[in-house]
């Protein structure tokens, strides 16, 4: 049926109204589509139960001076060593400019007697030895990676071998003197 409500006017009025409708509908449609896509993408982000395990609290009250424990965090081992005064001094006395990955000991610890690092070699991902009393610790008294011979010092810094970076220090907070939240 002919649109008799529209007075005999130039067709450009009708055309521009139609254009407006097309733009408005397309614009809103695009916004709607983007809004509809987001839940699909976000569903791939870590779920609530994964996030709940993103940080872990550990009790360090039983770790004696000179002892070390390994805890699991985000699926990886974390080394917690209660350093002796000798180990602390050795770490602080190192000439930082000679290091492959220059970092002072102070940059790597919050309390000097507690060294907390992710126990994954920065070369190709093996777990370095040095946590247990019988383990080889390498020339620098820290950790020794059996896979390709990387050696870390008492601050976990790479001194010898193929690894490019120091052992990673994760984000952590001392909740009390005996309890640390990692992550």
């Amino acid at each position: 049926m002919a649109d008799s409500s529209q007075p005999a006017s130039d067709p450009s009025d009708g055309a521009s109204r139609r254009d407006f409708l097309v733009y408005a509908a397309s614009g809103l449609g695009a916004i709607g589509t983007a809004a509809a896509v987001w839940p699909f993408i976000h569903s791939m982000n870590p779920a609530a139960d994964t996030l709940a395990l993103a940080s872990t609290e550990i009790d360090i009250s039983k770790v004696e001076v000179g002892q070390a424990i390994t805890v699991t965090w985000r699926g990886k081992p974390v080394f917690v060593r209660h350093r002796t005064p000798e180990e602390i001094k050795a770490a602080q006395d190192v000439n930082v400019s000679e290091l492959r990955d220059p970092q002072t000991d102070a940059q790597r610890v919050q309390k000097p007697e507690w060294l907390i690092m992710v126990g994954v070699c920065t070369h190709l991902g093996c777990i370095p030895l040095g946590q247990k009393s019988g383990d080889p610790k390498g020339e620098f008294g820290g950790w020794f990676c059996p896979c390709h011979g990387s050696q870390y010092d008492t601050s976990g810094r790479i001194r010898k071998g193929p690894a490019p970076l120091n052992l990673l220090v994760p984000q952590y907070t001392f909740l009390t003197d005996t309890s640390v939240r990692i992550g």
Partner: protein, 407 residues
């Protein structure tokens, strides 16, 4: 031969010279000559296509978190509902999407019945549609098993047990289907694999379905052939915009259910983890299977019941030859029109019977409903022979022109 389409955009032209996807798209979705008198019942084909897409997309993202192992399947679905970001939305979209997929397809099928869209030259189009329908039913049946709730388990047990009715090899077939001696982990695993596969088979069938449609062109409410360009309009922009409007209305209903009544179509028992030692008091399939469930239960003999249930769908394949009338649309077929509404009411009756335990009056109702269902087909054949159809208009354009002449 199609004439060479030239595109203004250089990049589009470059691609099209090497793989004519843009020409094909233009031919089938832009220029496609569509009867100008289609009503809103013609929206449901595109709505069904929309639902297939929604189901595949939500299904893929659900599969990223679902575990198809009998020990953890139920909890993996609950993890999706509670812990996965927007997991509840994905799950409710998928579960209710199945129901709405069947709603659109049932309306689409009944539109075809009413307007004679199954008649020559659209027989193959109709067959492809039925194959899509059968694939949908297999997909939906297996999908319902995946959450591994009480109804998942027991529904699977009842329906797979039906195959034991097959003489001689029945029991071997059931053991083969189960991968064991009852519905258990092997069954769940293979159902997941097949549930993931079948929708892509459906996509291929839909592609063939649309190709078949484009070969014979669309039917219309008058059921008469297109006589010339005065009867048609290009698919774009007329039907693209009408389909978009239909999508909007449909989404309001679908998402209204998803957000405000997400368990309306569901069964509370499926929120109880599957227990092979405890049978639920009432085993019911999802609503879209209820009429067939009623037909199955209305026959006292197990094998006959199974045969009747499958025949209820198989017989639809023969409809183009059972219905002998040369007139397509029920608009001009007074007897056929009455019988159509009776058939539709009978399907609802069978659905009601299927939903309730077979006790009391419902047993007789189910048997009558089944008889009416199958009686529909010889009745149609008779009507095709004796019916005097109303006079058909000369062309599609003509009734409209006639009206405007009166003004």
């Amino acid at each position: 031969m199609s004439e060479q389409t030239k595109f203004d955009n250089k990049i589009v032209q470059w691609v099209d010279d090497r793989l004519p996807i843009f020409s094909m798209l233009k031919h089938s979705a832009v220029d496609y000559p569509t009867p100008k008198n289609l009503n809103y019942w013609w929206n449901f084909g595109s709505l069904a296509g929309l639902m297939l897409t929604v189901m595949v997309l939500t299904g893929i993202f659900l599969a990223m978190n679902y575990a198809a192992n009998a020990g953890i399947a139920f909890t993996s679905v609950e993890r999706i509902m509670r812990d996965v970001n927007y997991g509840w939305l994905l799950r409710y979209l998928h579960a209710n999407g199945a129901s709405f997929f069947f709603i659109t397809v049932y309306i689409h099928i009944f539109r075809g019945l009413y307007y004679g869209s199954y008649k020559a030259p659209r027989e193959l189009l109709w067959w492809l549609g039925l194959l899509i329908y059968l694939s949908m039913m297999a997909t939906a049946f297996m999908g319902y098993v995946l959450p591994w709730g009480q109804m998942s388990f027991w529904g699977a047990t009842v329906i797979t047990n039906l195959f034991s009715a097959i003489p001689v090899v029945g029991d071997y077939i059931v053991t083969w289907l189960w991968g064991g001696f009852s519905v258990d982990n092997p069954t769940l695993n293979r159902f997941f694999a097949l549930h993931y596969l079948l929708p892509f088979v459906i996509f291929a069938l839909v592609g063939l379905h649309v190709m078949a449609l484009h070969t014979v062109k669309s039917n219309n409410p008058l059921g008469i052939d297109v006589k010339g360009p005065q009867d048609t309009i290009p698919f774009h922009p007329y039907y693209t915009v009408k389909d978009l409007f239909g999508v909007g209305v449909f989404l309001i209903v679908y998402l209204g259910v998803v957000f405000y009544a997400p368990n309306f179509f569901g069964e509370p028992d499926n929120y109880i983890p599957a227990n092979p030692m405890v049978t639920p008091p009432h085993i019911v399939p999802e609503w879209y299977f209820l009429p067939f469930y009623a037909i199955l239960r209305s026959i006292p003999n197990k094998l006959a019941g199974v045969i009747c249930m499958f025949s209820a769908i198989i017989i639809l394949f023969f409809l183009p030859w059972i219905d002998s009338s040369k007139v397509r649309s029920a608009k001009f077929r007074p007897y056929f029109k009455q019988v159509f509404w009776l058939f539709l009411a009978d399907c609802f009756l069978l659905g009601y019977v299927g939903a309730h335990p077979p006790e009391g009056n419902l047993v007789l109702m189910g048997q009558i409903g089944t008889a009416v269902y199958f009686g529909f087909f010889p009745l149609i054949w008779i009507i095709g022979k004796i019916e005097k159809p109303r006079p058909l208009p000369q062309s599609i354009a003509q009734p409209v022109l006639k009206q405007s002449e009166k003004i």
